[in-house]
């Protein structure tokens, strides 16, 4: 009959239990709240990006009737085997070359300019950044048409070369015109990330390099350039991807011999009424870009 009295340690134990429970509840609430916050974004991306992409994927295995209707149900990989047609490959190669050249040119023009902006006083910096972004305030189509006037055979460029004595220039409808248009259109996308990474750079590192016998060029090559590589990578991707799939620029400034993938895909859907082929083309281009971007990030990130 000697019932031992309960040890008083029971109270803290209880508190421990509730504490743990509370913690779990808090974690659950936290993830629930997170999901709720992300829901609109997820819903939007699913409805207007993932779902249509799925449809494109399904369509790429469909067949085209002789009248141009898409027949679902007769599945085939025809539209994929047609991708290795030399004509298609030529367009793909041209798109790649033009986009790569436009990216390189943007980098060449954009890097010194971004460096210049980043090393100004804060007030001048703000002003220059606004100037970089001003073109976005007017319609891209209109601005591209303006280039038609500038590059046309009776435009200012042509007149200037005539005045100098090299004769008229025929830039319109050439790949040069397309490239000028691409560089013009996407240069801000190169400058802004470059600016962001150069602005973050600790210039005492450059001074340290100079103090350690590096010439101005060596200090740039060994310190400034590698430390701004994040901006170079981001800018290059932001320029290359839209250039590769460009539609408006080659359509307006280019000719039949400068067709790029974007225009070619559009032609499949509209003029040729070959939706399966257009779909497979879109899909493969997208996957290729994704893989290229991933590799680029991985390689660039490693050497960073």
């Amino acid at each position: 009959m000697s019932a031992p009295t309960a040890p008083p340690t029971l109270v803290p134990k209880l508190e421990d239990g509730t504490g743990e429970e509370l913690e779990h509840a808090a974690t659950r609430a936290d993830s629930r709240r997170g999901a709720l916050l992300a829901l609109p974004g997820f819903a939007y991306l699913f409805l207007f990006f993932a779902l249509p992409l799925g449809i494109v994927f399904v369509y790429s295995f469909a067949t085209r009737s002789s009248t141009g209707r898409t027949i679902l149900g007769q599945w085939s990989v025809d539209s994929y085997t047609r991708l290795i047609d030399p004509f298609v490959l030529q367009i793909a190669w041209r798109s790649f070359a033009l986009a790569a050249a436009a990216t390189a040119l943007c980098l060449l023009v954009g890097y010194p300019f971004a460096y210049y902006i980043a090393t100004r006083s804060p007030r001048v910096r703000g002003l220059l950044l606004v100037m970089v972004m001003i073109p976005f305030w007017s319609n891209f189509l209109v601005r591209t048409y303006a280039w038609r006037v500038i590059l046309g055979s009776d435009g200012p460029v042509s007149r200037l070369t005539e005045l100098v004595g090299i004769g008229q220039t025929r830039l319109m409808f050439t790949s040069t015109a397309v490239m000028i248009g691409l560089v013009y259109g996407y240069l801000p996308f190169m400058i802004l990330p470059l600016y962001a990474s150069i602005e973050r750079l600790d210039f005492s590192l450059v001074e340290a390099g100079r103090d350690l016998y590096a010439s101005g060029w060596e200090a740039f090559r060994r310190i400034t350039w590698p430390l701004s590589r994040a901006g170079v990578i981001a800018g290059s991707i932001l320029v290359f991807i839209p250039s590769f799939g460009a539609y408006v620029t080659p359509e307006i400034l280019g000719g039949s011999r400068t067709t790029m993938l974007g225009s070619f895909i559009v032609r499949q859907f509209l003029a040729a009424r070959d939706w399966p082929f257009g779909s497979s083309l879109s899909f493969v281009v997208m996957i290729a870009m994704l893989v290229a971007a991933l590799v680029y990030f991985r390689v660039g990130g490693k050497t960073l």
Binding site: D202, S204, L205, E207, A208, G209, R210, D211, L212, Y213, A214, S215, E218, R222, I223, P226, L227, L304
Partner: protein, 373 residues
């Protein structure tokens, strides 16, 4: 714990002998940024093998002076010579000096080893020599085993050592250090002070050290140059700077002190303004109004009627306040128009005085300094 045997680490021979050309010589060096004069007509000779500190409050021009020696700024006027070679407008990469930067400025995208090798690579030293010299430098600053880490993976103290090794590996004629211990906590800073001094003695390179910490400067330097408002106010050994400050600013900046406004009456006599006559060391010019400075720990407190040692000064006053500091006692005594701060070891004889007691303050004229301004 494979700490390298420090004594066996080969050190470059001490450059030059006594009486050789100064390691650094500044003649009339002035630096103007727009309307601001950052450095104002500085003349300075830093001896070979010396640990020289530039001391002053922030914005006094000490860092700008250092940067001009490094070549990161160019003087508006004047000339800078390093071992008798004209440097004034030479770019930093062509000067025989290296810098330890305040924030270390380690290259974040390179390993410790690559950071240290950078200078030698730029000098196009052959790979074999680079390898052995980097290894030597790594051991000199006790960073063995850290060679492949990135600066971010190191503690503040370790980063500091990398910065040191990166500069020392080049065997510069002069090493410039811009507040290198500023970012470290107090305890580590104290340890690094001794280590730096030891290192300097071992490698025998001239160190020019910029700091705003007077204690740091006193602890490490062979000589100190005190700067304020762009001007070099006084150059001397730590003892000279502390015991015989030339100006009020120097006396005030280096430790605690008392200022007594005086009028010199004779060669070795002066009258405290509105007070009694005292003996001053040195040779005053009768009639001049100036200031006498005495360190609190140089004064003694006694009872008013106690005998005064021959030649000492005595001021009578009222004990105003006592603060117990553990290892010492800080007292404030009002004597006429002046208030004196006195510091005593916690001797029992001082404890007998209470606030409001009549006391005498004694000091030897040799312990007080008459200021120039």
């Amino acid at each position: 714990m494979n700490a390298p045997d420090v004594a066996t680490t080969s050190a470059p021979p001490r450059q030059g002998q006594a009486g050789s050309s100064p390691a650094v010589e500044l003649v009339g060096v002035t630096k103007r940024f727009d309307d601001v004069i950052a450095v104002d007509n500085v003349n300075l000779r830093i001896n070979d093998g010396e640990f020289f500190s530039l001391l002053g409050p922030s914005g006094c021009g000490k860092t700008t002076t250092l940067r001009m020696i490094a070549g990161l700024e160019f003087p508006t006027h004047g000339s800078i010579r390093i071992h008798d070679e004209q440097m004034s407008l030479r770019p930093p990469n062509k000067r025989p000096v290296n810098t330890v930067f305040q924030s270390y400025a380690l290259f974040p995208h390179m390993s410790v080893r690559d950071n240290i090798a950078f200078g030698l690579q730029m000098k196009k030293v052959d790979r074999h020599t680079i390898g052995s010299r980097v290894t030597e430098a790594v051991q000199l600053v006790r960073l063995g085993g850290m060679e492949h880490r990135r600066p971010k993976q190191l503690s503040g103290g370790q980063q500091q050592r990398v910065a040191l090794a990166r500069a020392l590996v080049n065997h510069p004629q002069v090493l410039l250090l811009d507040e290198p211990l500023g970012a470290l906590d107090l305890k580590l800073r104290k340890a690094m002070q001794l280590e730096l001094k030891e290192l300097q003695e071992r490698v025998g390179i001239t160190f020019v050290y910029v700091t705003h910490d007077q204690e740091e400067a006193l602890t490490m330097s062979d000589r100190i140059g005190v700067m304020d408002d762009g001007r070099l106010l006084q150059v001397g050994t730590p003892e000279e700077i502390y015991e015989r400050p030339a100006t009020r600013m120097v006396a005030d900046f280096i430790g605690e002190t008392n200022f007594l406004p005086i009028v010199v009456t004779e060669l070795d006599r002066a009258r405290i303004e509105g007070g009694q006559e005292i003996i001053i060391g040195g040779d005053g010019t009768p009639g001049t109004k100036t200031t006498l400075t005495i360190r609190p720990e140089k004064m003694r407190i006694t009872a008013p009627r106690e005998p005064v040692p021959e030649g000492d000064n005595q001021l009578l006053g009222t004990l105003h306040r006592r603060v117990y500091l553990g290892n010492a006692l800080a007292l404030e005594v009002t004597a006429g128009a002046v208030r004196l701060r006195v510091r005593q070891g916690s001797a029992a004889q001082v404890h007998r005085f209470r606030d409001g007691d009549e006391v005498a303050v004694l000091w030897s004229p040799a312990d007080a300094a008459v200021l120039e301004d």
